[in-house]
Symmetry: C2
C-alpha cells in the first residue's frame, strides 16, 4: 500500500525518506521558523458519511493548510493518520490519493509520513501540516490593534450553501440556481481553497490574522477576545458570491446563516490603515480578492456586527460548536 499509493505523494519531499523510516526529517532553512497545526476530518461529522473519498482527502489537507496560510506560513509538508472502517479497496485508495494529490499540488506541499489503521468507527483523517515563515514573523491572532482595518479574503457562506445542496439537491431549483452556480457552491464545500497566494501580502501587511472556519462572526469574536480588543463588522461589506447573493435575495437563507455557517477557510486579518493600500495591491497582484469589512477598536467598544440598516445584529448561535448537544448536523467546521 505504501509503495503504490503513498510514496508517490511523498516523492517531492526528501525529508519523507520515501516513507521508508519511522519519522520524517526537516532541515529548517536558516532564518525560518516551522509552523505546525493539526486538524481531523471525520466522516459523518465534518463531511457526509458517504462522501467521495477524493473530496474527504482534499478537505482534510485544506483545513490544515487554511491555518498555515492565516499565519503567513508557506506550506511545506504534512503527516496523516488514516483510520479506515475496513481494509481499503484499491479503487477507494486510488480515489482518496487522487484527491490528496490534487490538494497538495494546489497548496504546494507533500506527504511526509503517516500511519494507517483499521477502526470500528467511521473514516477519519487526521493531518498535521508544517509550514515555514521568516523567524519570529508568524502572524498571531492576538496582534490585531485598535485602528486596524479588518479584511476577509474570498467570499463568505458558499460552503454553507454547498453543504445544503449536497444534502438536498432539489434546493437548487427552489433557489433558482443554474447548474454552474450549483456546481460552484458544492465545490466550495467539497474542495475548499484557502488562499495560499495571499501569503506574501499577509506577511508584508497584516498586524494579525486567523482563518475563518467556524463562522465569520464567531471567529471575529474570537480574534477580538484573544487580542483583548473590540471591533465591528459591517455586514453590507462582507463579500458574497453572486450565487449566495441570489439565494439570500430569494429569501430561503438569511445573511445570518451565511455569517455563522462555517467552513469558509478564508483569512480574517487586521491591517494597519497605512498598510491597507499596499495590502490591496499585493492581494490583487496575487489574484486573490480581499474585502475591507470592518475595524478593530478599543476593548470598551465591544464586538458589534452592523446590519445594512446600521443596526447591531444579535446571533442565537454565532458559529460552529464541536459539542453542540442537540441537532448537530453531519457537517461542521474546524
Amino acid at each position: 500500500m505504501i509503495g503504490a499509493f503513498w510514496a508517490p505523494l511523498a516523492a517531492g519531499f526528501p525529508g519523507a525518506l520515501e516513507l521508508k523510516d519511522d519519522c520524517a526529517v526537516f532541515t529548517p532553512q536558516p532564518g525560518t521558523d516551522l509552523v505546525v497545526t493539526t486538524d481531523a476530518v471525520i466522516a459523518g461529522v465534518h463531511v457526509l458519511a458517504d462522501e467521495d473519498p477524493g473530496a474527504v482527502a482534499w478537505k482534510a489537507l485544506a483545513v490544515n493548510v487554511s491555518d498555515l496560510v492565516a499565519k503567513g506560513a508557506t506550506p511545506l509538508a504534512y503527516l496523516m493518520t488514516l483510520a479506515l472502517p475496513e481494509a481499503p479497496e484499491r479503487q477507494w485508495l486510488a480515489a482518496f490519493t487522487d484527491g490528496l494529490r490534487a490538494a497538495q499540488e494546489a497548496f504546494g506541499c507533500h506527504l511526509a509520513g503517516g500511519d494507517t489503521d483499521r477502526t470500528p468507527g467511521p473514516l477519519s483523517v487526521s493531518i498535521t501540516a508544517l509550514g515555514s515563515v521568516p523567524t519570529g514573523r508568524m502572524l498571531r491572532r492576538s496582534r490585531v490593534r485598535p485602528g486596524d482595518a479588518v479584511y476577509v479574503s474570498g467570499t463568505i457562506g458558499d460552503a454553507t450553501l454547498g453543504l445544503a445542496l449536497r444534502r438536498d439537491p432539489s434546493l437548487a431549483a427552489r433557489w433558482g440556481l443554474d447548474a454552474a452556480a450549483h456546481a460552484s457552491l458544492e465545490a466550495t464545500h467539497l474542495r475548499p481553497r484557502p488562499p495560499v497566494a495571499l501569503i506574501t501580502a499577509l506577511r508584508a501587511c497584516a498586524s494579525g490574522a486567523m482563518d475563518v472556519s467556524d463562522g465569520l462572526i464567531k471567529d471575529f469574536e474570537r480574534m477580538c477576545r484573544t487580542a483583548n480588543v473590540g471591533g465591528q463588522i459591517s455586514v453590507a461589506s462582507v463579500p458574497l458570491s453572486a450565487a449566495a447573493h441570489a439565494v439570500v435575495a430569494q429569501g430561503s437563507v438569511t445573511l445570518a446563516d451565511l455569517l455563522t455557517g462555517g467552513e469558509d477557510y478564508q483569512v480574517l486579518a487586521g491591517i494597519a490603515p497605512e498598510r491597507a493600500v499596499e495590502f490591496e495591491h499585493l492581494a490583487a497582484a496575487a489574484g486573490t480578492s480581499v474585502a475591507r469589512i470592518g475595524s478593530i477598536e478599543d476593548i470598551g467598544a465591544g464586538v458589534r456586527v452592523i446590519d445594512p440598516a446600521g443596526r447591531a445584529m444579535a446571533f442565537a448561535t454565532p458559529g460552529w460548536d464541536h459539542f453542540r448537544k442537540e441537532g448537530q448536523a453531519p457537517d461542521g467546521g474546524k
Copy 2:
C-alpha cells in the same frame, strides 16, 4: 476546556502560544533538524474499548516518542487530535490529562496544539510528535551494515503478556505470577516506556535503528529489508523479564508468541563492532539495559532467527498486521 485541561500541558513550551492561536511555532536551534512522526491510538483497536483514559493518553504519546527515540531525536513537543464519542465529562478529561501529563513529564516534552471533535465512532487519539537531532544525524533504519552487532533495549514480550492479563486476569494464577509480576506486566502494556535515556548512546554509536512496535521478528525483517542486508537474531540472547521467563517456562505461552507479539516500544539498533563497548558503557551510564541479540550480514545470508538449539525458526505470523482479515484482536502495535 482548553484553559482548564489543555493549556497547563502546554505551559512549558512557548511555541504553543498557550494554545490560543491556530498553529504552534518552532524556532529550531541552529545546527539541528526537526524529526516528526505521527501515530494514532483507537479504542477497541490499539487499547481495550473501555481502557482507563489516563492509560490511553499515556500510550498515545509513548508510541510516538518511541519513534523519536529510535531516531536519536530528543522529544520536544506534540500535537494531538482527539475524537470523543460524546461531550467529555470533567472526570474523564481530568483522568485523560493526568495520564498525558505523566507521560510528557516522563518523556520530556509538551503539548503544542491540537483539535477536539465529537465522533460517532470510538475514542481516537492521533498524536504528531516533534523531536530534535543534530543536523543530518537522524538515525535511519536503512543504515545498518553487514558486520554490525544487533542490540535491543529493555525486555521483549512483557506487553504481550500484559495485554493477555488485562483481558483475563485469571491467567496470573495459571501462570504462577505473584501480584508484583502481574502488575509489572500490565504496566508495561498500559504505560510503555520507550528508552529516552538511551538517546545519547544511540546518537554516539548506532549505525542505524528503529523502534520495536509490531513484533521483534517482523521489525528485524523490516530493518534488514530496508537496509538491503541479511542478518540473524539468536533467540537465546533476546532479553526477557523474569516474569516472562517464568511464564514461558510454565508452558502456556511460547517464546515465539513473545517475539511476535508487538507493542514492546524498545529500540533495535545496529552497532559497528568497534563501537559496541562504548555503546554498552553509555547505555549502562544512562541506566538503560541493552542486549546484543544478533548481527547484520550480507544480503545473501537472508534473515534468520536461531532457536536455543541452534536451528532456524519459522513464524506463521511474524508480527502485527493492521489489516489482518480475521481474528484481529483488540490490541495491536504501531
